[in-house]
């Protein structure tokens, strides 16, 4: 099993899109943090709430994690590399498990790198403007840990979606449309039916709660994570079944 995980990690690192992920991660996180600090009033900058907001810039890593998760499955079908992959490892469920594990490793790395960028931009900046930091506050670290877990969960969701929808374009576009449009429309519809409660159980609403940012989340943290894991398990099982049955021809 560890051989397969190692192989999956090597696959991720040996194409150019790996560098695109890292560059996008650093630039988007950096720009996000700089924008937040630059546009905040000097009184705000010293508040815990504001600094939690800075940690939430790691949401960039969360989005990249779901894209990575989808891609590491669908790229195999797009380029036909699924043939050598399954020749080397004919038990396809093991390949899916290895992809899941590798996606968690990389997503965790993304979140950590993103946090490092937040720290590298925010700490000197806040020091220069004489803002008080809350590094000693457990809240800030809890938020950071939740972001890391969220990135891992979104990556797993990506792998599960990719296993169900093998076409790369359909899986990527479908997921983004579903996140930004589909669930919002459903939310409205459920509102009309007086059934808003159900909306909290939509997959990405639940995942949204898993980053612990609160605000407009429909779920509280614990149940949100539980519902998200439920969706990942369901789609993962469906996808693994579909991938196992598929004729690679």
């Amino acid at each position: 099993m560890s051989a397969l995980v190692h192989s999956e990690l090597l696959k991720i690192r040996t194409t150019r899109s790996w560098w695109a992920y890292l560059v996008a991660l650093v630039l988007l996180t950096g720009a996000g943090v700089a924008g937040e600090i630059g546009s905040a009033g000097s009184a705000d900058r010293s508040t815990l709430g504001f600094q939690e907001g800075l940690v939430e810039t790691v949401g960039v890593a969360v989005i990249l994690a779901v894209i990575l998760g989808i891609t590491i499955v669908t790229t195999e079908f797009r380029h036909g590399t699924v043939t050598p992959t399954f020749l080397a490892a004919p038990h396809r469920e093991r390949v899916m498990a290895a992809k899941s594990a590798a996606s968690v490793v990389v997503a965790t790395g993304f979140a950590l790198l993103s946090l490092a960028v937040v720290a590298a931009v925010a700490l000197p900046w806040l020091a220069i403007v004489d803002a008080q930091t809350h590094l000693g506050d457990g809240e800030l670290w809890t938020r950071a840990a939740q972001q890391i877990l969220a990135a891992a969960l979104w990556a797993l969701m990506g792998v599960a979606v990719g296993a169900v929808v093998h076409s790369q374009v359909a899986a990527l576009v479908g997921t983004l449309v579903w996140i930004f449009l589909g669930e919002t429309l459903l939310l409205g519809l459920l509102g009309l039916l007086d059934a808003e409660g159900v909306a909290a159980y939509l997959p990405f609403r639940a995942l949204d709660a898993a980053d612990g940012t609160g605000g407009d989340d429909l779920q509280s943290y614990g149940p949100g994570v539980a519902v998200a894991i439920g969706w990942i398990a369901l789609l993962g099982a469906l996808g693994t079944g579909r991938t196992r049955r598929r004729d690679i021809s």
């Binding site: 040996t14 790229t75 043939t83 050598p84 992959t85 399954f86 020749l87 080397a88 004919p90 021809s249």
Partner: protein, 295 residues
């Protein structure tokens, strides 16, 4: 070595493989032949556990592919040349597979030099020629130093120099005692390389035999040229011997040259040419597979 038993595979309405059974004997090179669309790829992919048959079973070294302990150490396969990520280098493609199969990294350099691809190995596959991709495919197949090799149309798209290289390479692999199953839709491409042939058409077995037997079984004709071809035709026809006109005053006769010569001499017919017209491999192949279509 490889055994296919009553294999049947249907894609929607199309019956790709129809109750096919054959065996590949250890230590031989077997040509797996049939026209395009005969079901060769589907059969090979079933053997390799990539396609799920509707009925029947396939085994490699006595067990289904999926139950092989270390599949790449038992069977190496070269399927389509394009099954590589274009953005990855040849060497990294091999490293990824080696990692998955638990094969040491040093083996990657070995197989690269074996297929003479060391120089290009750090380049991205996107820039490879078809011949280079085929050699990369061979390198993948050889990673685990397997006893059995399965190759699907390996000569497709190769230039004559590439085909020659491939032929010599496969011969050297067979000389090391490996069993090779090699598919092709062109018989002459593999005739010099293979010991045995399995011929299929419309997903059904047409013949499995040593190549020599297939060639011997193809009845040749006698080629005869005579200024008096018309009278000779009449005489032969009167004896119930089939005659076809190849060209003006040139006939193909379905009888031994001795019989034709004696008949001509007895009737005072002048011959300008008398010889054996060997059926070419392609004619044999065509004849065998045509028999199936007219059923």
């Amino acid at each position: 070595m490889i055994e296919v038993e009553s294999l049947t595979k249907r894609y929607g309405r199309v019956l790709a493989v129809d109750d096919l059974s054959f065996r590949v004997e250890p230590g031989t090179i077997t040509g797996f032949l049939g026209p395009n669309g005969a079901g060769k790829s589907t059969t090979l992919r079933s053997v390799l556990g990539l396609v799920h048959p509707d009925a029947g079973r396939t085994t490699v070294l006595g067990v289904p592919y999926r139950e092989l302990d270390r599949p790449l150490h038992s069977v190496g396969a070269v399927l389509e040349a394009s099954e590589v990520h274009p953005g990855r280098s040849g060497r990294n493609h091999l490293r990824v597979l080696a990692a998955a199969a638990g094969i040491p990294r040093s083996r990657v350099a070995e197989v690269l030099s074996l297929v003479e691809l060391t120089k290009a190995s750090k380049r991205r596959v996107k820039g490879y020629s078809l011949g280079m991709r085929q050699r990369l495919g061979l390198a993948c197949a050889l990673l685990g130093d397997p006893d059995v090799l399965v190759l699907d149309e390996p000569a497709n798209g190769l230039d004559p120099a590439g085909i020659r290289w491939l032929r010599d390479f496969l011969r050297s692999l067979a000389a090391e005692g490996r069993s090779i199953l090699l598919s092709s839709h062109v018989l002459s491409e593999v005739a010099q390389t293979v010991d045995r042939v399995v011929i299929i058409h419309h997903g059904k077995l047409v013949q499995q035999a040593p190549i020599a037997e297939v060639l011997a079984g193809a009845h040749g004709a006698t080629r005869v040229r005579s200024p008096d071809a018309r009278r000779l035709t009449d005489l032969l026809s009167a004896q119930g011997i089939a005659v076809t006109e190849l060209a003006e005053r040139t006939l193909a006769v379905e009888a031994a040259p001795e019989a034709v010569g004696e008949l001509a001499a007895a009737n005072g017919i002048v011959l300008h040419e008398l010889g054996v017209e060997r059926a070419t491999l392609e004619e044999v192949f065509f004849e065998l597979t045509r028999g199936e279509t007219t059923e």
